[in-house]
C-alpha cells in the first residue's frame, strides 16, 4: 500500500480506506525487531483509541490502538506466524487487522501521510 493513500493516528497506526490497520514505518523502526503479535478476535467492537492489539519486540510490549471506532472484520494470520513482517513490510504484509468503521467520517479526521511525517519529527518515540 502506498502510505500516501493512508491515514495516520498520533499513536502511529495507519488505516486504509477499506479499514485495514497496521503500524507505521516510523513505529516499527522505534519498536525494533517484532517477535510476537497478539491480535483482536474477529467480531470484537472497539472504540477509537482503544487498545486492540499488542506488538512485542525483544525489548518491550507496545499497545496498538484502534484509529477509529468499529468492529474487527478480519485479522492477519500471517503476521501472527511471522511477526517480523511488521518490520519488513509495515504497509503491506505486516498489516494487523481490518475494521468495519462505525462512522466512515472518522477516517478523514486522521492525519495524512504528509502531516504524520511532520508529526513524527516533533513527537516522542512510540
Amino acid at each position: 500500500m502506498n502510505p500516501s493513500d493512508l491515514r495516520f493516528a498520533k499513536t502511529h497506526e495507519w488505516i486504509a480506506a477499506d479499514g485495514t490497520v497496521g503500524l507505521s514505518d516510523h513505529a516499527q523502526h522505534e519498536i525494533t525487531d517484532v517477535v510476537f503479535v497478539e491480535l483482536p478476535k474477529a467480531g470484537r467492537s472497539v472504540k477509537a483509541g482503544e487498545g486492540a492489539s499488542v506488538v512485542e519486540s525483544v525489548k518491550a510490549a507496545f499497545d496498538v490502538y484502534a484509529p477509529v471506532a468499529g468492529q474487527v472484520a478480519a485479522v492477519n494470520p500471517e503476521v501472527v506466524a511471522n511477526p517480523a513482517l511488521v518490520n519488513q513490510s509495515p504497509y503491506d504484509k505486516g498489516w494487523l487487522f481490518r475494521l468495519k468503521p462505525a462512522d466512515p467520517a472518522e477516517w478523514d479526521g486522521l492525519m495524512t501521510y504528509e502531516r504524520y511525517q511532520e508529526f513524527v519529527k516533533t513527537a516522542e518515540p512510540h
Binding site: T32, D33, V35, F36, E38, V54, E56, S57, V58, K59, A60, A61
Partner: protein
C-alpha cells in the same frame, strides 16, 4: 549522564543510545536479533566500560576480601578469577561481582555499573589497615564474546588462546598494560578486556575489523538470560538473599566468617522463604519483569527477568516464587500473567540454551558459570 570512552564510536556506528544506570549506552546497533546471533555463531563486541574496576591491594587484601565476599578467596591463585557476592548482614545481595587475583597482595574486582556508588562506600567502610582500595574510574572495558573470540584475540594477544576459562592475563597493547580475562556474560567463549581508555580505543576498531560485531545491551540481556545469569537490579537486590537467588554455590560457609554468614546459615537451616526459578512458556508470549507468576490459579511470585529467546524462539525468564506455595519438585502447572492473558509455563533449571555441539576451550568448566555483569 556518564559516557564511556567508546561513546563516539557508538554514535558513528549507528548505536541507539539509552540511559542505563546513569550511563549513556547503546541498546542496539544493527538489531538485537542479528547481534544475538553474531555472538552465538561468530563474535560480538560489547562496551563494558560502565562496569566498575576496582583494585584491592596490600598485605591484608586477601583477608579483607575473604571477609566481605561470599566465595572462597583462598581458592584463588595468581591469574585466577571467581564469581562472588557482597552480602549485607541480612544476607541480602549488595552486588554480584568478579574477583581476580592478579598477584601476591593484588586483587582486581569487576562490579556492576549501577552498584558502583553503593559498593565503594560499603567496601571502604569495612577496610582494615593494610589493605587499600582504588577505583579506576577512567578505565575502559570491552567484552569480546562468541565462538570466534579465541581466534580473534590471538591476532592481538599472543597466548590469549591458551588462557583458560576464569583466568586473567596481564598483557600489553601498544605499550599499555591491559588485562584480558577469559570470562563473559553470554554463555559463549570470550574475553573481557580491561585497561587504559586510549589503548582500548585503538583496539576496538581492530577487533571490529577482525570480525567482531558491535553489540548493545539488548543482545547482552537476551544472551545472559538464555543462560539464566542473574542481572543485578532485576533478579538480585538487597531484599532477596543470596540463597533465595539460587546463588548458594558461591556462598562458602566453611571458609570462616564473612559479612552475612550468620543470617545466610540460619536461612539455610530454616529453608529460604522464596526461591528463584527458571521458566519457559508453553504458549506464545513474552514474559517481562514484574509479571505475576501463578500456580494452581494462585499468585505465587513475580517475574524478575523475561524475554523472548532469539536462540530458542520461546518466551522464558527468571522469577521468585514462594517456597510454601510451589513444591520443590513442581515442573508443570505454572502460569505467567502477561497483560490480560494467563500463559502456561514450565519450570526449567537454567541454562535454557545449550550449545548444539560444545567445543570446550577449557578442560574443566567450573560449574558452567562464567559471568560478570551488564
Amino acid at each position: 549522564m556518564n559516557k564511556t570512552p567508546f561513546n563516539e564510536f557508538h554514535k558513528r556506528g549507528g548505536g541507539r543510545l539509552i540511559d542505563f544506570g546513569g550511563w549513556q549506552m547503546p541498546v542496539q546497533f544493527a538489531g538485537i536479533l542479528v547481534e544475538h546471533r553474531a555472538v552465538r555463531e561468530r563474535a560480538g563486541l560489547f562496551d563494558i566500560s560502565h562496569m566498575g574496576q576496582v583494585s584491592v591491594t596490600g598485605p591484608r587484601a586477601a583477608e579483607f576480601l575473604q571477609a566481605v565476599t561470599t566465595n572462597d578467596v583462598a581458592k584463588l591463585a595468581p591469574g585466577r578469577g571467581q564469581y562472588s557476592l557482597l552480602c549485607r548482614e541480612t544476607g541480602g545481595v549488595v552486588d554480584d561481582l568478579y574477583v581476580y587475583e592478579l598477584g601476591p597482595e593484588k586483587f582486581f574486582l569487576i562490579v556492576n555499573a549501577s552498584r558502583r556508588g553503593a559498593d565503594l562506600p560499603w567496601l571502604k567502610g569495612r577496610l582494615p589497615g593494610g589493605a587499600e582500595i582504588v577505583e579506576h574510574s577512567e578505565a575502559a572495558g570491552l567484552a569480546l564474546q562468541g565462538p570466534d573470540s579465541g581466534k580473534i584475540a590471538l591476532e592481538f594477544f599472543p597466548g590469549a588462546d591458551g588462557l583458560e576459562k576464569n583466568r586473567i592475563l596481564e598483557c600489553s597493547w601498544q605499550g599499555a598494560k591491559i588485562l584480558a580475562a577469559r570470562t563473559g556474560y553470554t554463555g559463549e567463549d570470550g574475553f573481557e578486556i580491561f585497561g587504559d581508555a586510549a589503548a582500548l580505543k585503538s583496539l576496538y576498531p581492530r577487533l571490529q575489523a577482525a570480525g567482531a560485531v558491535p553489540c548493545g545491551l539488548g543482545a547482552r540481556d537476551t544472551l545472559r538470560l538464555e543462560m539464566g545469569y542473574r542481572l543485578y537490579g532485576n533478579d538480585l537486590d538487597e531484599g532477596h538473599s543470596a540463597l533465595e537467588a539460587g546463588l548458594g554455590w558461591v556462598v562458602k560457609f566453611d571458609k570462616g566468617e564473612f559479612v552475612g554468614r550468620a543470617a545466610l546459615l540460619g536461612e539455610k537451616e530454616r529453608g529460604p522463604a522464596r526461591r528463584m526459578i527458571g521458566f519457559k512458556l508453553e504458549e506464545k508470549g513474552v514474559p517481562r519483569h514484574g509479571h505475576e507468576v501463578l500456580f494452581g490459579g494462585k499468585t505465587v511470585g513475580i517475574v524478575t527477568s523475561g524475554t523472548f529467546s532469539p536462540s530458542l524462539q520461546v518466551g522464558l525468564g527468571l522469577a521468585y516464587v514462594d517456597n510454601a506455595l510451589v513444591p520443590k519438585d513442581a515442573r508443570e502447572g505454572l502460569a505467567i500473567r502477561i497483560h490480560d492473558r494467563i500463559v502456561r509455563a514450565a519450570i526449567q533449571a537454567p541454562p535454557f540454551y545449550k550449545k548444539p555441539a560444545q567445543i570446550l576451550t577449557s578442560p574443566v568448566p567450573e560449574r558452567g558459570h562464567t559471568r560478570s555483569h551488564p
